[in-house]
Symmetry: C2
Subunit: 462 residues, 2 copies
Amino acid sequence: MDTVVTALRSALDDQDGTLVLTDPSVLDAARTDKSGWTAPGGPVAVVESRTVEHVQATLRTCTELRVPVVPRGAGTGLAGGANGTEGTVVLSVARMDRIVGVSTEDEFAIVEPGVLNGDLNAAVAEFGLRFAPDPASAAIASVGGNIATNAGGLRCVKYGVTREAVLGLDVVLADGRLISTGHRTVKGVTGLDLTALLVGSEGTLGVIVGATVRLVPIPAGEPATLGAVFPSVESAARAAALVVTGADRPSTVELLDAAALEGIAAYLGPDVIAQTVGSTAAGQVFLLVEYDGPGATEAALGAAPRLQSEGGTVHLAGSAAERERLLTIRRSFHPAMEARGRVLIEDVAVPRSRLAEMFARVEAIGQEYGVAIPTVAHAGDGNLHPNFVFAGDEVPPHVWQAADAMFRAAIELGGTLTGEHGVGVLKRRWIGDELGDDVLELQRGIRRVFDPAGILNPGKVF
Amino acid sequence: MDTVVTALRSALDDQDGTLVLTDPSVLDAARTDKSGWTAPGGPVAVVESRTVEHVQATLRTCTELRVPVVPRGAGTGLAGGANGTEGTVVLSVARMDRIVGVSTEDEFAIVEPGVLNGDLNAAVAEFGLRFAPDPASAAIASVGGNIATNAGGLRCVKYGVTREAVLGLDVVLADGRLISTGHRTVKGVTGLDLTALLVGSEGTLGVIVGATVRLVPIPAGEPATLGAVFPSVESAARAAALVVTGADRPSTVELLDAAALEGIAAYLGPDVIAQTVGSTAAGQVFLLVEYDGPGATEAALGAAPRLQSEGGTVHLAGSAAERERLLTIRRSFHPAMEARGRVLIEDVAVPRSRLAEMFARVEAIGQEYGVAIPTVAHAGDGNLHPNFVFAGDEVPPHVWQAADAMFRAAIELGGTLTGEHGVGVLKRRWIGDELGDDVLELQRGIRRVFDPAGILNPGKVF
């Protein structure tokens, strides 16, 4: 493997050794992401590209030498899609992190892929604009990674997924050619929509080196936030369905099941929840509903009786501090789970009408396999994140069996393996169950059109 | 060509001759669409499929015999994409027009492709829902055609294009296999996004035989509608830019240039415009701005001074009848043009910040080539529909030359050939100018993956 390192150093003209890295700690860090999965082997090099030309030279070299390449951004993925596996070159675009330009009149930004979602939002906030996608990892996730996984987030229920926010892409193909797709216009239908195809392609079709992303106005006024506790997950799911349909569209609808709420209560101390929503009884379920924009308060006041009609004890935040306390309950979910052990975060989605049923399935699966599965859902999207909590470093077999049962349940209810995290390595074994052979064959065919030598992210997705 | 007709009749078991049509008037009608372009030759048969099996049998037969197939819906396209050309079989799905199901809780409808956009909207209105895409042809255009062209419309500026409204598709491939793509969930990222790829593919990848489409709530309350006249297209374009950015998002922003407004005044009688916006001076330009949902009236009241600041004479509709009069001005554009002669309707889009410049280019091109080009723009999207008005049945060479100059101007300003109508036959000669050779090669490669024999809509798009 010295050959590829030598060839890359020469191709990138890496005279001071800052581009083609082979330091063991760097290689080791590139084996993992935020899913907790670490590749059993490791990459031979990490290329820290600073320019489009670096990306082109790396891909040209690796195609020539038939060395597999793993494109990588900030490394915050949750499916192992950017993890450097045995014998690969990890091609990082994390250092390509400039905001190239912002047009407030056309409401778009031109960015390099490594810019963090949170940094882009901070930069455009002064113009009253934001990048709509808001994965929970926004502060640490890169826009290129958001695009490569078609990231979702809490606000999707009102503002859509990342695909809707991408107007055009600059992409380096496996053989080193640079292409541009899409437009700087909101509309445009010239030929096949390669931009949409590349969004969510998880590094299997090309390496995103630039993006023109839509910016949307930050809603006027203060949001109106409701917290409610329910006696059961069924009643909370029904309440969520009541408020998410209709003309007033909430910007956030988050459901924490009883196991999740108990974990958070233990983590924050039970008083925090009691002070906020006036209850700490065991078995209760928490629903967070937020409205923004004109009429937010009226919408929240209109939602309260609908939540109550399903047995909810409802609290409307009366101040920014009260709102913050409600949001803290939701935000404490992941830290609370991590305080309990190792966590496998899953990501199924079902039609909203099947949400209560899916919660019941998850609970039954947890009991059957003897594993705790506290679950949070972006309830407005039917997107559940069951968190499989376990001891030890490796995901134990019975947890994988439970996850397997859960994926099958989601598909059976008309849903999908992954609402927003992607397939990566971790969901690869189930992709055929969802897509079927014919669709999978088409997808592999498209991949071959983009990357005939098959060097891009092998062993991921397909 | 008797062979294919005989083979189709047998494959479809068409005992009473109602499926495989060869009547000259039927064949003739299938040669054209609403663009005004008629294919020089004509198809050998029109298959009026009623079922998915009919579509499968037709495609299987045509792949075997290597006979080209032109998929067709309601025939309201504006780029010749569904026109039956010489020696083809036109595969119509117009009679597959059932609404299979509606889920109000999940806010989607499952439809056959031939259902008309307007009929779908009428059927779901009782639930307070609608299908967001609203091409001007909604009353006569099919949902399958909306999807095949990724149709836009007047409300896109706020509600997005058709792609955002499609969750999943059932598609028959060229060899007769039936595949399903996408989900019944709003989120879902399992594998490449074939649904988005198929939207806007203009019948070149497969034949859409079913769709799961999103429904969105009809905004509450009455819309608030402003009409304004401006002394110049530049001032109107600047005014449009002022109201389309910011937190209050209009649902419609339509700009009619001076030539368009003069034509409408002549068509409706000058009093109609004078009564509505209090002015009929020559050279004036009309802007229609509408807000919907909560805060619509406040938003319109806030927009009025911004329109005035650019020299606009502004009128806020005070009643449903007044609103109707303002909308009538916009709606009369196409009838007014058709009253003047034959019309070639074009469809370029540019970044909003270049809208005034593009209007100036269109005007200059009209003068240079001696052709009248009244233009309406979906100003919020930067999407212009220049209408080339000419005498006689065929588009004269100097009109094509003017169109050519206009396409090049749009691309030069960072825009696109087609914002919402598609490439079809009529824009095919310019597609390479916009996409470039590498992207075109990828698109052709994808097409071969779906249709190795190349029978689907040959001579269209690529």
